[in-house]
């Protein structure tokens, strides 16, 4: 027989609060734990001060990060570029430079830098189009990287292997570069500047 009817009596307010509490608790754990699980750290070969170097060189960023004659971009300078100034004997006193001279310059071994802004292989990015053609500052995408005294920790996504800088720092599109270098961030800037191109312009 139908003896139910007043079922709502079974649910006391305490049950609801327990539910809300559990929900919030799990959401918080997920929010903090997920990045910790998803991203791993990788050390840079040795420390490097952009600030120090900027004081020594004459032409700013371009002194080391330059265009080649065919319009391609060198990106991180090769060891040869470093050797234009550095010899096997350290120029300064820092222990970092000793490592650099002993392990890399002396052995003529390329430095395996971890590149924060390295994009997945499907992405085409032209520094020439942005710097030489559109006249953007390096800092508009790389932030104050050129003024830093230390290299921050490099983090990468354990699943994809890509740098966390691509899209791991914030999921909501409040931060643009350098905090985030997602396709949406490129697209936003393009759209704001009235450049709406075919997919091929940024993909290969």
């Amino acid at each position: 027989m139908a003896t139910h009817g007043k079922k709502q009596d079974n649910r006391s307010p305490a049950d609801w609060w327990l539910f809300v509490l559990g929900f919030v608790l799990f959401a918080a754990v997920g929010f903090w734990a997920t990045p910790a699980i998803l991203y791993a750290e990788k050390p840079q070969p040795f420390q490097f001060s952009h600030k120090l170097h900027m004081e020594q060189v004459g032409e700013g960023c371009q002194s080391c990060h330059a265009f080649r004659e065919d319009g391609s971009y060198t990106g991180i300078p090769s060891l040869e570029k470093c050797k234009e100034c550095h010899g096997e004997e350290p120029m300064g006193e820092t222990p970092e430079e000793k490592v650099f001279s002993k392990d890399y310059v002396a052995k003529n071994k390329p430095i395996p830098w971890q590149v924060y802004s390295k994009q997945p292989p499907c992405v085409f990015f032209s520094h020439a189009a942005h710097v030489a053609n559109a006249g953007l500052e390096c800092a508009s995408c790389h932030g104050d990287h050129g003024d830093t005294e230390k290299l921050r920790t490099y983090e990468y996504n354990r699943l994809t292997g890509y740098s966390r800088d691509i899209w791991g720092w914030s999921l909501i599109p409040l931060d643009g570069p350098p905090k985030r270098m997602k396709m949406d961030d490129c697209a936003k800037c393009h759209r704001d500047n009235g450049v709406r191109d075919a997919c091929f312009v940024c993909h290969k």
């Binding site: 139908a2 139910h4 009817g5 079922k7």
Partner: protein, 412 residues
């Protein structure tokens, strides 16, 4: 094991042993599908016989066919809830379940059919609104949601579940506003049945499939809607009749079946007139304008027998049968006519998919034929097994047929 307290009130069902054996058979069929699906997902689509000439294979044919046959759900719902044909309430539950099976089955198949299933959501997120396939994806998914909403109250009306007051009232209230869902479903279904046809009609560089039309809609858009609503009610009714034969019970009055047959037949006649006009224009005006003759289209094994099978045996013949009152009176000929109608729409979807791709467009290209592998058949069979399982469970435990108790009075 006695499950009789879950049966709808006042009905009897076969012994659990028999039902279990039948389920085992269905599960075996589903197992074949699971093995096939695993191979296709793990090793890739090289497990099929599709290739760069037959980009679409038997899965798309089955997809299109079951979606056309599932149109019985929206059209019966439309006639029942919107046009207020009260007598159709006796078959609407079956129509909804069959529609749900067809649509969910089709979506599961599509998940295996695309090369990168994990990226399936790109079609929604990065939608190209100019593609007919985008329209299909959006409408099918949304309509499946509608079908779930329509199916849920029926599940909640299981004799035991319905004792829970919350669920009882929820089911009851969903029924009260069913017209809202039925109308939305009609709108959605109308568009994606059309978009499925539009998918082929817009392939303007594929002379076999291409059609003219109005605005953005090629004629196939309208022809697919019409053929689906002509075949859908036939499919629903024939499934009910087959269930009657298998269970040995009368589940709806013959009057309901005759009404469905009449609707089906009239729509089929309307469809056939337009389809034949379209075919004649296509064969004698459009095709020569592209420098082709219909004889190029119909090469072995895809000969003109396809045309005869689709429009003759699966079109004109069932149309005549369904529209003659004497035939509608006869149980067996009516069933035959309805099955022929379903066969016709299936042939249409087959021809539009496979033959469109088989016909070479470059003059120096070859004419290829295609045969599915056992993995492709396995997944197709899986959808059928899935349908058997859902429909059998629904029949056993849910009050699908309102007239059942009246038509099968129990002696005890």
């Amino acid at each position: 094991m006695d499950d009789s307290k879950f049966w709808p009130k006042g009905t009897t069902r076969c012994k659990p042993v028999h039902f279990g054996l039948w389920m085992l058979f269905c599960l075996a069929l589903a197992g074949w599908a699971l093995v096939s699906a695993f191979l296709c997902l793990y090793k890739g689509l090289n497990q099929t016989n599709m290739n760069d000439y037959f980009a679409f294979g038997v899965w798309i044919v089955v997809d299109l066919a079951i979606i056309a046959l599932g149109a019985g759900a929206f059209f019966t719902g439309f006639m029942n809830y919107v046009l207020r044909r009260e007598e159709l309430k006796n078959i609407i539950n079956a129509a909804v379940i069959i529609g749900f099976i067809c649509y969910s089955g089709a979506i599961m198949m599509l998940g295996i059919d695309i090369g990168q299933p994990i990226r399936g959501w790109f079609g929604f997120w990065h939608a190209n609104v100019h593609s007919m396939l985008t329209e299909v994806m959006f409408c099918i998914t949304t309509y499946l949601i509608v079908l779930i909403v329509e199916f849920v109250p029926l599940i909640l009306e299981n004799r035991q579940i319905n004792k829970v007051p919350d669920l009882h009232f929820f089911a009851h209230n969903l029924h009260t506003i069913m017209i809202v869902f039925a109308a939305t479903g009609t709108f959605l279904s109308f568009f994606h049945q059309g978009s499925l046809g539009g998918m082929y009609g817009v392939l303007y560089a594929r002379p076999f499939a291409a059609r003219g039309g109005v605005l953005i809609w090629p004629w196939t858009f309208f022809l697919f809607i019409l053929s689906a609503i002509a075949a859908g009610p036939s499919f629903t009714t024939s499934i009910v009749m087959i269930t009657e034969i298998v269970t040995g019970k009368k589940l709806t009055t013959h009057k309901v079946k005759m009404l469905m047959a009449k609707v089906s037949g009239s729509l089929l006649l309307f469809y056939l007139v337009l389809k034949i006009a379209d075919t004649l224009y296509w064969a004698f005006v459009q095709t020569p304008a592209m420098g082709l003759s219909p004889s190029v289209y119909y090469q072995a094994p895809y000969g003109t027998w396809l045309l005869i099978a689709e429009l003759g045996i699966g079109g004109v013949l069932p149309c005549i049968l369904l529209l003659s009152p004497q035939v509608r009176e006869s149980y067996w000929i009516l069933l035959l006519a309805m099955l022929l109608n379903c066969f016709g729409v299936t042939m249409n979807r087959f021809v539009m998919t496979i033959q469109s791709l088989a016909v070479p467009v470059l003059p120096f290209e070859k004419f290829y034929a295609y045969l599915p592998t056992w993995q492709e058949w396995g997944i197709s069979a899986g959808v059928i097994a899935y349908g058997f399982i859902i429909f059998s469970l629904a029949y056993r435990y849910l009050p699908v047929f309102p007239q059942e108790t009246k038509l099968n009075p129990t002696t005890d």
